[in-house]
Symmetry: C2
Subunit: 278 residues, 2 copies
């Protein structure tokens, strides 16, 4: 857990949204990108995820026609944007109160590891360049995810932790103003955050992962659920690529943070098949 | 001028950067995009501008080799990024203390005007969709400008006013925390801001133009210079496309904000030829 002094805690005290948060959804980098292919989005998986998210967000309201919110050019698709005239007659889409956080997958990792951004040291030209290059790569992915969600009529708005003023000290979050995230939610938008290169008070800079972002938001905004979408079925007792890996169906967490496996019981070690998110 | 109450003024009180700001540079939308072609960047002009900015930023330090900071894929250019090994031996590039703000040109305008985002009303589906679509378009342009600057070794970091928490009331800025902008400058980066769709306390939402952003930053951070790069030579006495338009070479501004033309004198009305920024 992060250690924070009083002033740091003050910086982190979020303005609670008027609408309580239902879900934080983590889109795992492995699920939405082709992890072994440099800066390649898994278009099919991203499309499926966007559709599923729309269905989850619209649960309770009419399924209706999906009216896209991405009116920009797409390479190789169309030169002219289409704006559906039906928007004028469409009821406002109640998107619930979701926050999306995504990982980097095959975006950002190359730039970050090549330059050592996570270790800090902005006085080194390679680190400084790597910081810029990493942010270019992860914000490119963020933009594509915002666009994919917008095409499914999800009113998504990209929010980069670095530009939102999030920063760390020895890789622990010390400043993370969530007021803009909550204002966006209260205005009916879905904030889309991502793992990012950020400033660090002791190291100069580092990498803030999507998982750390989620932990922080969850602590502050107390969502009903945190959902992790990844390319395997869940948490396993060993790497899921191993033939005898067992899917842990239920894990209980005690008040003190310790945990134990509820299902399967130790004698009930049935194998589970991995399945893709798409 | 904006009217602000004490609490709003407090929100606007910026943490002054340790390094004083030398320049705010406005990249006019007309200069860096093909204004009559939907979402088309004027690549040649942007490249020239980026080179000129690098030369201006590096004045006083060795011109040296330019080592690119964009290590991402570029459509139609190369599938593999190149990271110059020379970075290890490169002295840290002192980029001075610049802020870049750009307009939208042929990005964002279609989406904003089609939906009427500037007039507000997020309860209307078309406005809400237009807000999302406008942000997608202007952040796409922002990313491309950050990349073009990074290719010229300018350590640029994109910062969207919306996600930085900038907001307005009746289109006047009421909240604009510059602390992240100044922190980025103090860490040796060049913040790149842009005209954006933002939340508005009375209208729900509106468009915040690059020029209003510049006025606000200039008031707060008192740069030595504000430089406007556009597709004409300067301020004219009539639309510069008109054959008798006269370039106003020097305009003086009085303490009370009123102004008068110093050069040319009224009897000295020589015609000036327009010239492109590129």
């Amino acid at each position: 857990m992060e250690e924070m002094n009083q002033s740091q805690q003050h910086q982190n005290s979020a303005i609670k949204p008027i609408i309580p948060i239902r879900f934080i959804v983590k889109l795992g980098g492995a699920a939405i990108t082709c992890k072994n292919e440099f800066e390649k989005i898994n278009e099919e998986a991203l499309e499926t995820v966007s559709l599923q998210l729309r269905q989850a967000m619209m649960s309770g309201s009419s399924s209706g026609k999906s009216l896209g919110m991405d009116w920009s050019k797409r390479p190789g698709i169309s030169e002219t944007p289409s704006v559906d005239e039906d928007f004028r007659d469409q009821p406002v889409f109640d998107s619930g109160s979701f926050i999306v956080v995504h990982g980097a997958g095959s975006f950002g990792h190359f730039q970050a590891s090549r330059s050592g951004v996570h270790k800090g040291g902005l006085d080194q030209p390679l680190v400084k360049a790597g910081f810029v290059a990493t942010r270019i790569s992860v914000t490119s992915l963020n933009l594509e995810i915002v666009r994919a969600l917008a095409r499914e009529c999800i009113p998504s708005v990209g929010m980069s932790p670095f530009s939102c003023g999030w920063s760390t000290r020895e890789r622990n979050i010390v400043s993370a103003d969530l007021s803009m995230v909550t204002k966006a939610i209260d205005s009916g938008f879905i904030p889309v955050l991502h793992g990012d290169a950020v400033l660090d008070a002791s190291l100069d800079c580092t990498i803030l992962s999507g998982d750390v972002i989620i932990r922080h938001i969850a602590e502050q905004l107390k969502p009903e659920f945190v959902v992790f979408l990844t390319d395997v079925s869940g948490v396993y007792d060993s790497p899921p690529t191993e033939p005898n890996a067992v899917l842990l169906k239920e894990i209980a967490v005690r008040e003190d943070g310790s945990w134990f496996v509820v299902k399967p019981k130790l004698e009930d070690m049935n194998r589970q098949d991995n399945c893709s998110i798409s």
